[in-house]
């Protein structure tokens, strides 16, 4: 039994943005366990007001440096939904491929550079460069592949330059896609090695029941658009996203919090798999099985594994998408735009969970109101309550301060939070 401890991690490292962990236990009683978000807000929803529709994807992509592609695509989809535009099959395929590659690069970044050091008791990946060069090289190879792919399809790996309302400004060349395919095929081995590496890591044993929200796949593992599904039984159309988020403000956080059926909710890779396990591609499912990842899994640390499974999932799916692109003649990259007034919502699964953009346009296509709900925003309350439960469990088990601090940090990192994005 642990009697007292006082942990304060000011600006948790190896996460995107600024957040603090506070845990205070006194006389064996938990006094405080909190997830404090101190990021400065940038007010994207206000700055978009009055801007013309073509500014929306360009500006709102800057909400996040890690998932700028996801934001851009969500924004574009919201605009297209207002204008009643239906993207061509080619555009949809390319967008999904682009998104997959962002997911891959983001997950690899998280798994190797941000999460892995904890499992080998290091502060960063740097020492591994000399001690385990093959591991670092593998990570770099996977990330490079994904980023190169983003360059080819989106024009730029960060804040893409080819993605516009109506489609793309330019298309990749077939030879580029052919080369990408070869590299993706070769990456399967790297992913298997990655899985092997993660089997050597001890995933902390911690469970707290919560509600998982994600897109609902119909015939394939979902990433762009469709219904919203929760493990507590809600099934809503895309445009009713507010019922799935219910943002509210809390004192300890400049990021808002969300909840649906309970105290808190979770989104992300684990939520996606919990809701769509049956839609995983064969190899991805095999990896899930390897780690015993089955719905509904309530161990937040397993989000790391869920990300790993998704890496395999997106590579498998990308190969199919490329085959489809290679099999058809390239058509016009871009559709013309006809401006309309109205409200449009887009739900897109970005690496850290479901992302919503919603715009209200006037007749000239100027934004009257903008709303963006970020995955980490939806996770913040869950992180907070997880920390509470974890602290209680640790106190009960009599863990040392260092152990508690590490477990707490790892817990938050497992969500791969994107804090500046959640504050936007």
């Amino acid at each position: 039994m642990k009697l007292s401890c006082n942990i304060s991690v000011k600006h948790l490292t190896r996460v995107e943005g600024h957040g603090n962990i506070n845990i205070r236990i006194k006389d064996g009683k938990l006094e405080e366990a909190s997830w404090e978000v101190v990021e400065t807000p940038r007010f994207f929803e206000a700055m978009l007001v009055g801007k013309k529709w073509d500014n929306a994807p360009y500006i709102s992509g800057r909400i996040c440096g890690i998932c700028s592609i996801g934001h851009t695509l969500a924004s574009i989809r919201a605009v297209e939904n207002v204008f009643g535009m239906v993207p061509t099959r080619q555009t949809n395929t390319l967008r999904l491929l682009l998104k997959h590659m962002e997911t891959l690069q983001s997950h690899v970044l998280h798994l190797y550079f941000l999460a892995a050091p904890d499992f080998v008791s290091l502060g960063s990946v740097l020492p591994l460069i000399t001690s385990h060069p093959e591991v670092v090289q593998r990570a770099v190879r996977l990330k490079l592949l994904a980023n190169d792919a983003c360059d080819i399809i989106g024009g730029r790996r960060l804040h893409p330059t080819r993605t516009v309302v109506g489609g793309f400004t330019m298309l990749p060349e077939k030879e580029q896609l052919e080369k990408l395919k070869q590299r993706l095929l070769a990456s399967v081995e790297d992913l298997k090695q990655t899985a092997a590496l993660f089997t050597t890591f001890a995933i902390p044993d911690f469970v707290r029941e919560t509600e998982f929200v994600s897109l609902k796949g119909t015939d394939s593992y979902p990433f762009i658009g469709g219904n919203l599904l929760s493990t507590d039984g809600l099934d809503l159309p895309e445009h009713e996203y507010k019922k799935m988020t219910n943002e509210y403000c809390v004192e300890i956080s400049t990021s808002k919090w969300c909840r649906v059926s309970r105290q808190s909710m979770a989104v992300g890779a684990l939520a996606r798999i919990n809701n769509n396990h049956h839609l995983l591609a064969p190899l991805a499912r095999q990896v899930a099985d390897q780690f015993g990842l089955k719905p509904v899994c309530h161990n937040p640390y397993m989000n790391n594994i869920a990300q790993l499974v998704e890496c395999v999932q997106v590579v498998e799916d990308s190969l199919a998408l490329i085959d489809e692109l290679l099999g058809a003649a390239m058509l016009e990259p871009r559709q013309p735009v006809a401006v309309k007034a109205g409200i449009g919502v887009a739900a897109v699964e970005v690496p850290r969970g479901i992302l919503y953009h919603c715009y209200d346009f006037d007749e000239e296509g100027r934004i009257r109101k903008a709303d963006c709900v970020i995955p980490t925003t939806q996770n913040n309350a869950n992180i907070h309550y997880d920390l509470n439960a974890l602290a209680r469990q640790c106190a009960g088990e009599g863990k040392t301060d260092r152990e508690i601090e590490l477990l707490a940090s790892m817990l938050v990192r497992a969500y791969d939070p994107c804090i500046s994005c959640s504050v936007h």
């Binding site: 007010f43 206000a46 996040c64 502060g123 330059t161 400004t169 403000c249």
Partner: protein, 262 residues
């Protein structure tokens, strides 16, 4: 890793570098991790003592501070002053730090209370106008771009190590756009700020058929009145011109002038 490096027989001290972020998307720092192919070479050139996005250890003994993001809260001013005290070279890293970046778009509303209410309702949040870091402390070097271009960052860091002066191109993006033999976007019916924006990005956007939005700020001889004429001649409204000019804050003075003229 070698403590000291040499070039042409001259000993070069590996600079100790630290990274900090204010209000930003952290994309510019991410660009460093996006250096995959050359990441290891990069790490042998410098000694990273602080990089919150990637490492837990945090040193306070650094010579070069890369600061990303713009200033939007009082505590950041204090933080900047602290960093300035320690750093020999203060680098404004990315357009947010150089000009305020997209963050300064909120400054265009005269009623900043409305801005807060629009996002947070009645809930209290602490915030000020978004400013470039040079408004608060002396900056020694600007690295432009939203995001910064990794090749450029690498060259700059190598040059810093060698003691070379860092010279940004003084000419506009059009120069690089032509060197890429692109079809001018105006010929394709798209607006572009290439004629007035500082080059150095290798015409990143126009080469992908996206008009330039001016993320690197004005070129040395930016001819804004002529730019306005060109936009008008090609059928683009002043609103479109202003949307782009004001997007990253680099053209703030010009925007103000155009607005004043009405």
């Amino acid at each position: 890793m070698p403590a000291n490096l040499t070039y042409l027989g001259v000993e070069l001290a590996r600079p100790r570098v630290a990274f900090f972020e204010l209000s930003s998307c952290e994309g510019c720092q991410l660009q460093l991790l996006n250096n995959e192919a050359t990441l290891l070479d990069f790490l042998s050139l410098v000694e990273v003592v602080r990089f919150r996005e990637g490492m837990t250890e945090a040193g306070d003994d650094y010579a070069v501070a890369f600061v990303e993001g713009s200033v939007t809260r009082a505590d950041q001013e204090l933080q900047l002053a602290e960093i300035r005290k320690k750093a020999k070279v203060m680098v404004a890293f990315g357009s947010c730090a150089c000009f305020g970046g997209v963050n300064q778009l909120k400054n265009r509303f005269s009623d900043q209370e409305w801005v807060k209410r629009e996002v947070y309702g009645d809930f209290h949040v602490d915030t000020q106008l978004a400013r470039p870091i040079s408004d608060v402390v002396k900056v020694d070097l600007m690295i432009y771009g939203c995001p910064v271009k990794k090749e450029e960052v690498e060259r700059i860091v190598t040059d810093l190590l060698l003691g070379k002066a860092i010279n940004h191109p003084k000419y506009p993006v059009c120069m690089e756009c032509k060197a890429n033999e692109n079809i001018c976007l105006f010929d394709l019916g798209e607006p572009c700020l290439g004629p007035v924006t500082r080059a150095g990005c290798d015409a990143w956007c126009p080469s992908n058929r996206m008009g330039c939005w001016g993320c690197r700020g004005p070129a040395d001889a930016a001819n804004i009145p002529q730019m306005a004429r060109i936009m008008a001649e090609h059928g683009f409204s002043t609103e479109t011109l202003l949307d782009r000019l004001e997007c990253f804050g680099g053209f703030a003075a010009h925007v103000e002038e155009i607005r004043k003229k009405g």
